[in-house]
């Protein structure tokens, strides 16, 4: 008879990784399913290669460039999925690259790790009743945030802004020249300009060496100096001897027994295309929210004709994403002609401009909720500002060098509001190469986020000018939905089983031994990134699951 594990965890990203570690350390046997292979940092990460070390200088083989060109290049070739993984409804543009390697997107994430606060969990009440509050208060989740921060190491400062609760931090990254200048401009306007909450080690932490500031973070860190599941969570789980990690295992559906409880997961082997069933006492899905919804929607039985745990009809609903876009770019004349500064050290943000709109007691904007902005700039890997500098010859060479330390660019992180028109369903006609039906995505930016986009562009131009800089331009359109890879929703948590798929512990209302540990349980995406909150909620759900198994409640 086949082995029965205590728990199957589907997915090894932030949510799955935290669940795997927590469950294994609590003494449970875990079978983790990951749809792709393990990465080898020596082979698969950039490893300090410079553009001139690569055949196409990092631009990638033009014949292989596809729609994911913005995220995949020669540095991370072969890590992102190229087969059909979804379709879109008419009128929907959705750009959604998938990383199926062990650790998922944590291998390459942006490392911004701010806590959500009461302003986010109670957003519905605070902004006059749009949608629903989270079923969890900040005070309840705060201890989990602290434990996660201690594990992964987050560099920042105490900032005393209730809208961005402070955590337990390593020393911050130092401000660069351009930061001092932009902060001066922001101070004049009353806009916050502060060190980001950055999950990047400024000092050695828990056995991980500190950052060496090579600037290659988004192609994977070969020293493990920022949080990713393979560097920070899986080693501890594997040390317990209770983890079996099955790679290239593409989850097809969650299996249920005659009592209406899950008994395991069916998956397809990526290479052999053979289907296998694995048995367990409980199942955690953490495949990232669209995939998690897809697995449940594909788990149809006679009892569950619309998908497993979907008595509410809400599985796949309320998909949210961060609207990203370049809200402005220009240059700071103060820095023209200066020698080059080490500005590229964290690959992206050292600082952020956390939400300052619609704060309690402050002025109300035309939109509800609020957004953040990330400033970037300075001496980068490529002189992208060349398009702003005309000419040729010696003059062009001198100008490009002269402007090198001076450019600045800003991108926004704008939460979309949950809407009934933004959702995923199973495409009745299209299957992926493993024979599994794919999702069809319905998604459009709504008026609230587009109002914020316009607001953010104006604010950015004001900041550049108040800092003594000149504006070159701004993005005409926001990025395509899906681009930020910060999707949330589809299995949202709430107390009412008629309106929510999961309860306040991430346990599905319909199937008591089925849990969700990714951003699918989030009510909305707020102006903060998702990873830290995924880790905190996954830790809380996993400990709840351990307790339920221990007491025999399951």
């Amino acid at each position: 008879m086949a082995k029965t594990y205590d728990v199957i965890v589907v997915g090894t990203g932030a949510g799955g990784g935290m669940a795997i570690k927590t469950l294994c350390e609590a003494g449970l046997t875990v079978c983790a399913l990951n749809s792709g292979r393990r990465l080898d940092p020596a082979k698969d990460f950039r490893n300090h290669r410079q553009p001139y070390d690569m055949t196409y200088r990092g631009f990638g083989d033009p014949r292989k460039r596809d729609r994911y060109y913005h995220i995949e290049n020669e540095y991370s070739d072969g890590v992102w999925e190229h087969g059909i993984t979804y379709t879109t409804a008419p009128g929907t543009s959705w750009e959604w690259p998938r990383c199926h390697a062990v650790g998922g997107k944590t291998n390459f994430w942006g490392r911004s790790a701010a806590r959500m606060g009461e302003i986010d969990f109670k957003a519905a009440s605070l902004d006059g009743g749009y949608d629903s509050d989270w079923p969890v208060a900040y005070a309840e989740i705060a201890p989990f945030y602290s434990r996660v921060e201690r594990q992964i190491g987050v560099a920042s400062t105490v900032q005393n802004r209730p809208s961005n609760p402070d955590g337990e931090y390593l020393p911050p990254m130092k401000l660069r020249c351009l930061d001092h200048i932009l902060k001066g401009g922001c101070d004049k306007l009353g806009v916050p300009y502060l060190p980001d909450r950055l999950a990047q080690l400024t000092v050695a932490h828990e056995g991980h060496p500190p950052c060496h500031y090579c600037g290659n973070c988004t192609e994977g860190c070969d020293t493990g100096s920022f949080f990713s599941t393979p560097w920070f969570l899986l080693p501890a789980a594997e040390k317990t001897g209770r983890l079996e990690l099955r790679t290239n295992a593409v989850a097809r559906s969650v299996l249920v027994d005659e009592r209406g409880r899950t008994r395991g997961v069916a998956y397809v082997d990526r290479e052999t295309k053979q289907e296998t069933e694995v048995q367990a006492r409980a199942v955690v899905i953490a495949a990232s929210c669209v995939e998690s919804a897809r697995i449940l929607l594909n788990s149809r039985t006679r009892e569950w004709p619309n998908g497993l745990a979907n008595s509410s009809g809400q599985v796949g609903r309320n998909l949210c994403d961060h609207l990203y876009g370049t809200t402005g770019y220009g240059y700071l004349p103060q820095l023209l002609g200066q020698p080059s500064f080490p500005d590229n050290v964290s690959a992206s943000q050292v600082v952020w401009m956390p939400r300052w709109q619609n704060l309690p007691g402050g002025p109300r904007e035309k939109f509800v909720r609020g957004y953040s902005i990330y400033p970037t700039g300075g001496c980068g890997e490529y002189p992208w500002y060349e398009k702003e500098i005309e000419g040729l010859g010696s003059q062009l060479k001198r100008d490009l060098k002269r402007y090198y330390p001076s450019p600045v660019s800003f991108y926004c992180q704008i939460p979309s509001l949950p809407r009934s028109t933004n959702y995923v369903e199973i495409d009745p006609e299209v299957k992926d190469v493993y024979g599994i039906p794919v999702v069809r995505v319905h998604f459009q930016w709504g008026p609230n986020e587009l109002l914020m986009w316009e607001h953010a562009k104006q604010a950015t131009a004001q900041v550049i000018k108040a800092s003594g800089g000149d504006v070159w331009g701004a993005g005409k359109e926001p990025n395509t939905p899906g681009w930020s890879l910060h999707e949330t929703g589809t299995l949202r948590m709430g107390d009412d089983p008629k309106r929510f798929v999961t309860n306040r512990f991430g346990q599905t209302h319909d199937v008591p031994n089925l849990f969700a540990c990714d951003a699918s349980v989030f009510l909305g995406c707020s102006d903060k990134t998702t990873t830290l909150s995924i880790l905190a909620f996954s830790l809380r759900t996993s400990e709840y699951l351990v307790e339920q198994l221990r007491t025999g409640a399951l």
């Binding site: 940092p41 020596a42 290669r49 410079q50 020249c177 001092h180 080693p235 040729l392």
Partner: protein, 203 residues
């Protein structure tokens, strides 16, 4: 900031020692155990380059265009960085851009023949520079040269791509990513947060 960063190779050596000592049970192999970067192919420049896409005549024109855009003028330019070879390689690899290059080169020759009775390649360097100047600078634009300006933008883009991804080009910018830092490098002007009184840099 020359001098602020450690030599990359030295840092890699230090990190490799730290890695061995820590015995950290993460990924099974430390990246530093292998010679990343060092085994990558060097930019070998054969004495006579045989273009993959361009004809010999076209290639000579591309070579000249790159040199006019980024000249060797006391500091290295497109020629030293092998930019024309990069352009030929990229265009050969990219069917989507081949027609635009071929059309643009034809435009240049046709235009030069109409005005000067010679192909672009046969013009004196000063005449070539003069022709490109009208395409490059807004206040020197001439009517009827829209296609030429579009081609100039294209060839300039590829020239800069080739140059500023070469070691020579990145060193000319003093790209900070060529070094690795022992600690978070911050602004070196603590006494002047507004950066109003910075000394102008030489060169």
């Amino acid at each position: 900031m020359a001098g602020q960063g450690l030599e990359r190779r030295e840092v890699l050596r230090i990190l490799a020692i730290a890695a061995g000592a820590s015995g950290y049970p993460g990924f099974h192999r430390w990246a530093f155990a292998c010679a990343h970067g060092e085994s990558a192919p060097l930019q070998v420049r054969p004495a006579r380059y045989a273009p993959r896409f361009f004809s010999a005549e076209e290639y000579a024109t591309v070579e000249r265009l790159a040199e006019l855009i980024l000249p060797s003028d006391g500091s290295p330019g497109a020629r030293e960085a092998g930019v024309s070879e990069f352009i030929d390689f990229m265009v050969a690899s990219d069917p989507g851009v081949q027609y635009r290059f071929r059309y643009g080169l034809t435009w240049l020759d046709a235009h030069a023949e109409r005005d000067q009775g010679k192909t672009f390649r046969e013009l004196a360097r000063e005449q070539q520079s003069e022709l490109l100047g009208h395409l490059a600078y807004r206040d020197r634009h001439r009517a009827g040269e829209e296609e030429g300006r579009e081609f100039f933008r294209l060839v300039r883009e590829y020239t800069l791509m080739g140059f500023y991804t070469s070691r020579i080009g990145l060193e000319q910018l003093d790209y900070p990513g060529l070094r690795i830092y022992g600690e978070s490098p911050g602004c070196p002007h603590p006494g002047d947060p507004e950066h109003r009184n910075l000394k102008a840099s030489k060169g």
